[in-house]
């Protein structure tokens, strides 16, 4: 069941992929200061598939951006595979992203001028590696995501689901320690979305990729081994191995059982949104 206690593991273990301590992110200052993340401490095990859920403004995207070294925290530390982010300069962060993190975006972000295969190969080209091994790996990955036949197609010739598969293959090319997916199904119809989620889940279970996914969608979150709920920049609970219905319930109760100042209108809104989502979600 949902727990409102933050996850805590006493010490780092070799199987730990990510550990954050007291992550805080402030935007703006003075009157307009926004506390997007307020002391989030989480740990993600190697080979885990974690979904992060939360209402708008809960800080889930910010957490993902911090994990991906796209932004730096106002305070707190992040450790990826035993390596801390703080004190790294732009060049080092760039190298870190290139070598250890794979990104999957809501809008795919494929280069329109490159074929599917070239898009997958792009990280290698950026890294200056254009050996046969990389080429072969790109081929394998395309096969893995079921797009071998479409390797020479441009993004505009692919469906949304196919484009997202290409971007997943691209994220895996450099064998990253961590794959970050930001609303990977947010721009897809439910069938394609389900396919993409299935692919992510398989990549996690059969090949042991560590995947962190931010989502609005309880059915998407339900594919993850563990769901982390964020609220007002803090970890508000988590759920392990839940079904779509359980995730949705937890989400709703999380909203309701807040911090003693229940905001009726907001609860009402979120509940309405959830009903909406559930009616569309494929039953599992």
């Amino acid at each position: 069941m949902a727990s409102t206690q933050p996850t805590s593991i006493e010490s780092a273990t070799p199987t730990l992929a990510v550990r954050t301590r007291g992550l805080t992110k402030l935007y703006g200052s003075g009157e307009t200061e926004v506390r997007a993340l307020d002391g989030a401490s989480i740990e993600i095990a190697r080979g885990e598939m974690l979904a992060i859920m939360g209402p708008s403004g809960s800080g889930k995207s910010t957490l993902l951006h911090l994990l991906g070294a796209l932004e730096s925290p106002s305070s707190g530390t992040i450790e990826l595979a035993g390596r801390r982010y703080e004190g790294l300069d732009d060049a080092e962060l760039t190298a870190l992203r290139r070598d250890t993190i794979g990104f999957v975006f809501q809008f795919y972000n494929l280069l329109a001028t490159l074929t599917a295969e070239e898009n997958v190969l792009l990280p290698a080209l950026i890294a200056g590696r254009r050996d046969e091994a990389m080429r072969a790996r790109a081929g394998e990955l395309l096969a893995r995501v079921g797009l071998s036949a479409r390797a020479d197609h441009l993004p505009s010739e692919l469906s949304g689901g196919e484009q997202q598969r290409v971007s997943i293959a691209r994220a895996l090319l450099m064998r990253p320690e961590l794959v970050l997916a930001d609303e990977p199904t947010g721009n897809l119809d439910s069938r394609s979305g389900a396919g993409v989620l299935e692919l992510l889940s398989e990549l996690n279970s059969s090949e042991g990729h560590t995947i962190v996914m931010v989502t609005h969608d309880p059915s998407a979150a339900a594919t993850a081994g563990r769901v982390l709920f964020l609220r007002d920049g803090r970890v508000a609970g988590e759920l392990e191995g839940g079904s779509t219905q359980r995730v949705a319930d937890s989400f709703a109760s999380l909203e309701a059982g807040g911090d003693g100042e229940p905001d009726r209108t907001r609860i009402g809104r979120v509940a309405g949104m959830l009903r909406d989502v559930l009616s569309r979600a494929p039953s599992r």
């Binding site: 760039t94 993190i101 975006f105 972000n109 001028t113 080209l125």
Partner: protein, 889 residues
């Protein structure tokens, strides 16, 4: 794709239209640069060929103070007697024009093959057919002929080769340059009729020659004839225009002889090597070249600006993609390089097309220079360095233009992969505006300096050029601040007329003031140059016309065709003509005017001033035809003093040499030198006030000039004017086809035409810059349409029809065009004012005159250009699919 670098060409290929629009500026800029460089190389080559050809193996050339000043007859003997001189030959020169076609005379017995040089002419000079034999409908045709009369027995240094017939030996024989003869279908043995200073003359063509350099002097021809006949026909009974000589010895001896001659010869005689003479012409052309370079640089600058603007937009548009590349681990350097490679590729492509266009443009410019500016230029010459310079500037400008956008792209945070352009728009920064204001002020200073400089040295030209560019940069930096209020004002009528679409268009133009400003700035540059050039031209013209209206009491002017003091050999009027015209009963006054253009005007104690015009007349004759204001003395007083050998000084020269009425002034010429006094200061803008007025006697005694340059006539009454004009025209047309009769209005429009023609070449170049900025507007509008896709979708969903959508885009374009025009008018007026103030420092009496009609035209042009630019983007917006537009990310 083999590497990351290969991404750049892909990006270009994917956005072909954008690439094309971006490269257009470079294409036009490079074409401009190459066209101008080739033109200036061609002009330079033409003149170096000219001097190589006509001076040939001469080591030194002695000439009068003017291009065709008069040397005393004794000068030739003095030169020959000078130690170190091997051979010397003197000549007289004049410009003849061909009249109608030739008639083939019955075949004459071919004269014996070229007689040995040095055989003295038999002295049998043919008698001239009486003037008046020509038919009244005779017309001057073809290009002029530059004729030199020299002693057939003396050495000929010129670099020629006789290709048919022989050299002229005596009498009215002439040898022609083959290319000119061919162009006019003249063969050896023909008798040709020529308009000469002494009227129409018939000459026999005895030979054709060609220059070994293959000189092409813009179609003008060269000819030689025996000295005796030449003196008679050219109305130069005494003296020489030029003495050429060779020296027995090397370079050292040449310099030694030069010093010796300078010391011993009459004052005012100039001794120079042919190379030095070529250099002199080149430096005279320098100012023209500098102005050409200036405009070409402006065109290229607009091209660079277009690149800057376009890449800025592209970077913004691709920001999500760039962010994604950063998340994939691209370093800043890689992103910067990728943008720069893209710019370089565009630059190369644009340059290649620009080169082709530039060659075509150069051909056009050569024709304009030859036909309109009447500077003789040969066929287009190619120089590798011009091509190289065009390539380097073309590619360099595109890369330079992309530097800032590339830097901006490099600074893109990887988070943009998620956020896209959200919250990205930066506000215009105050500090930037402050820098902009400083740049504008500095720029105006530079432009002022350019105008004020006596000589257009490279440094001054560079200062003016940098100054102008600084102004444009400054405007570009300040303009984001003025865009919002300007849009509010300019779009008011749009909102009134078009309601919602008008307001949306105004919002669109206002939403990114930086981009609107940059686009309008591109247009502003071209339009401001139009206004600046025009305000200089208009100010001069109106000042000159004012003077015409004020001081021209004459009714008619007779002057040589193509009259232009200071250009080429001074053309003169047959002395008989004045007497003949004076006999017309309707002629109250026929006043003689004699001009001599000199590179050094006299000053106090003979100190040489700048170039200008010596201007002589007979005071009692001249008074009725001229009303120019004279300061420092009454008219009677001043004219009386002129009779006694004093001189008047133009305001410009008076300011420059610090002369006042009564001051001593020293006159120095080939025929004499004397001290005299300043009789009055003449308020004139003719020749920028760089004039010295004197009596006919003074000019003759000091400079030896004895022939009339112009005749000014006054009728006995206003009623008699048309009769006088008819009679004068009849006499002149019949006997002196080389002369023109002009009424004051014709004279005025002649001056106006000349001024406009001088500016034609600049307008042609500026037009290219304006054209280039058009592509900038198209580019911006396309971006605006892409950015507003969703908004357009909403409008369509709410029931807006295609026409309304189209109008919204057109309105935005109209606003941008108008802003460009308004800025262009303001900046152009300021630039023109600064340049003119600078110029006016040397030319008192010229008043800044805002060219109002041009300004109005420019405003209309801005709107029209805006509308033209909006055609394609508006169509694209109107054709957007509603559903897809609504779901556009």
């Amino acid at each position: 794709m083999r590497s990351f670098a290969a991404l750049a060409p892909r990006q270009l290929r994917a956005r072909r239209l954008r690439a094309l629009l971006t490269a257009a500026g470079i294409v036009l800029g490079v074409a401009m640069i190459l066209g101008v460089l080739l033109l200036s190389a061609t002009i330079q080559r033409t003149f170096s060929d000219l001097f190589d050809s006509i001076y040939g193996r001469a080591d030194l050339v002695v000439s009068g103070s003017q291009a065709s000043g008069s040397l005393r007859t004794s000068t030739l003997h003095e030169v020959r007697r000078t130690e170190g001189v091997a051979e010397a030959v003197g000549n007289v020169q004049a410009r003849f024009d061909l009249i109608e076609h030739t008639e083939r005379p019955p075949p004459e017995p071919e004269p014996p093959a070229a007689a040995p040089e040095g055989a003295p002419p038999p002295g049998a000079e043919g008698t001239a057919p009486p003037p008046g034999a020509a038919k009244p409908e005779d017309e001057v045709t073809g290009e002029p002929l530059n004729v030199a009369g020299q002693d057939p027995g003396a050495a000929d240094f010129s670099d020629t080769e006789t290709v048919a017939g022989r050299k002229p030996r005596h009498g009215r024989e002439i040898a022609l340059q083959q290319s000119w003869a061919d162009a006019n279908k003249i063969e050896v043995g023909d008798r040709i009729r020529l308009a000469t200073p002494s009227g129409t003359e018939r000459l026999e063509v005895v030979g054709l020659f060609k220059f070994t350099t293959g000189l092409d002097f813009g179609g003008q021809g060269f000819a030689t004839m025996p000295l005796g006949a030449a003196r008679e026909i050219m109305d130069k009974p005494r003296g020489y225009d030029e003495v050429q000589l060779t020296v027995s010895g090397g370079e050292d001896t040449i310099q030694e002889v030069r010093r010796r001659l300078e010391h011993s010869l009459e004052r005012g005689a100039k001794v120079a090597t042919p190379d030095a003479k070529a250099d002199e012409v080149e430096s005279q052309l320098q100012a023209f070249n500098v102005i050409l370079y200036f405009f070409a640089a402006m065109a290229l600058f607009v091209g660079g600006f277009l690149i800057f603007n376009s890449f800025n937009m592209t970077v913004l548009q691709r920001i999500r993609e760039i962010g994604m590349l950063r998340t994939l681990g691209s370093t800043r350097g890689m992103i910067v390089r990728s943008v720069l490679i893209e710019a370089a590729l565009l630059g190369v492509a644009g340059t290649v097309i620009g080169l082709a266009l530039g060659i075509a443009l150069a051909k056009g410019l050569v024709v304009i220079t030859r036909e309109v500016l009447e500077v003789p230029v040969g066929e287009l010459r190619f120089t590798w360095w011009a091509l190289l310079a065009a390539v380097v500037t073309g590619v360099g400008t595109s890369v330079a233009g992309a530097l800032w956008p590339a830097r901006r792209a490099g600074r893109t945070s990887p988070i943009r992969a998620v956020l896209g352009t959200e919250g990205l728009r930066s506000r215009p920064r105050r500090r930037r505006a402050a820098i902009g204001v400083v740049l504008i002020v500095l720029g105006l200073g530079g432009a002022f300096w350019l105008g004020a400089a006596d000589e257009t040295t490279s440094i001054v030209a560079a200062a003016g050029m940098l100054g102008t560019i600084a102004i444009f940069f400054g405007i570009a930096m300040v303009s984001p601040f003025v865009i919002k209020p300007m849009v509010s004002v300019l779009s008011w009528p749009l909102r009134r007329v078009f309601g919602v679409e008008g307001r949306l268009a105004a919002d669109a133009a206002r939403s990114d003031p930086g981009r609107t400003a940059a686009t309008a700035t591109g247009l502003m540059i071209g339009l401001s140059l139009v206004v600046a050039v025009n305000s200089i031209g208009a100010s001069f013209l109106s000042s000159i016309e004012d003077e015409f209206d004020r001081s021209f009491a004459r009714d008619l002017t007779v002057q040589p065709r193509g009259f232009a003091p200071g250009q080429g050999p001074q053309q003169t009027i047959d002395r008989d003509l004045r007497d003949r015209l004076a006999k017309i009963p309707e002629a109250a006054v026929v006043a003689r005017e004699r001009f001599l253009f000199t590179p050094n005007l006299p000053g106090p104690s003979g100190k040489h001033g700048s170039e200008g015009l010596l201007f002589a007349f007979k005071p009692d004759e001249y008074d009725p035809v001229d009303q120019t204001d004279i300061e420092g003395a009454s008219r009677e007083q001043a004219f009386d003093r002129l009779e006694r050998g004093w001189v008047t000084v133009g305001q410009g020269q008076a300011d420059e040499a610090g002369l006042e009425v009564g001051d001593r002034i020293r006159l120095q010429g080939p025929s004499g030198s004397r001290h005299t006094h300043v009789a009055g200061i003449v308020q004139t803008v003719v020749f920028g006030g760089q004039t010295i007025g004197m009596s006919l006697d003074t000019l003759r005694d000091v400079w030896g000039v004895n022939a009339d340059s112009e005749l000014a006539l006054k009728a006995t009454s206003a009623d008699a004017r048309p009769i006088l004009e008819r009679k004068v025209e009849r006499i002149v047309d019949r006997h002196y086809p080389n002369l023109a009769v002009l009424s004051n209005d014709e004279l005025k429009s002649d001056v106006e035409r000349r001024v406009n023609e001088q500016f034609a070449i600049f307008y042609a170049i500026v037009a290219v810059a304006v054209f280039a900025s058009l592509f900038g507007i198209v580019n911006t509008l396309s971006m605006s349409v892409i950015e507003r896709t969703r908004e357009i979708g909403v409008l369509r969903a709410l029931g807006a029809n295609r026409w309304q959508v189209r109008r919204q885009v057109a309105d935005e374009s109209l606003v941008i065009g108008l802003i460009g025009a308004v800025l262009g008018i303001v900046v152009g007026a300021g630039l023109g004012w600064a340049l003119l103030k600078g110029l006016a420092a040397g030319v008192p009496g010229v008043v800044y005159e805002p060219p109002l009609s041009t300004m109005a035209l420019v405003a209309v042009a801005g709107m029209v250009l805006g509308l033209i630019a909006s055609v394609l983007p508006a169509r694209r917006a109107a054709r957007l699919d509603v559903i897809r537009a609504l779901s556009y990310e």
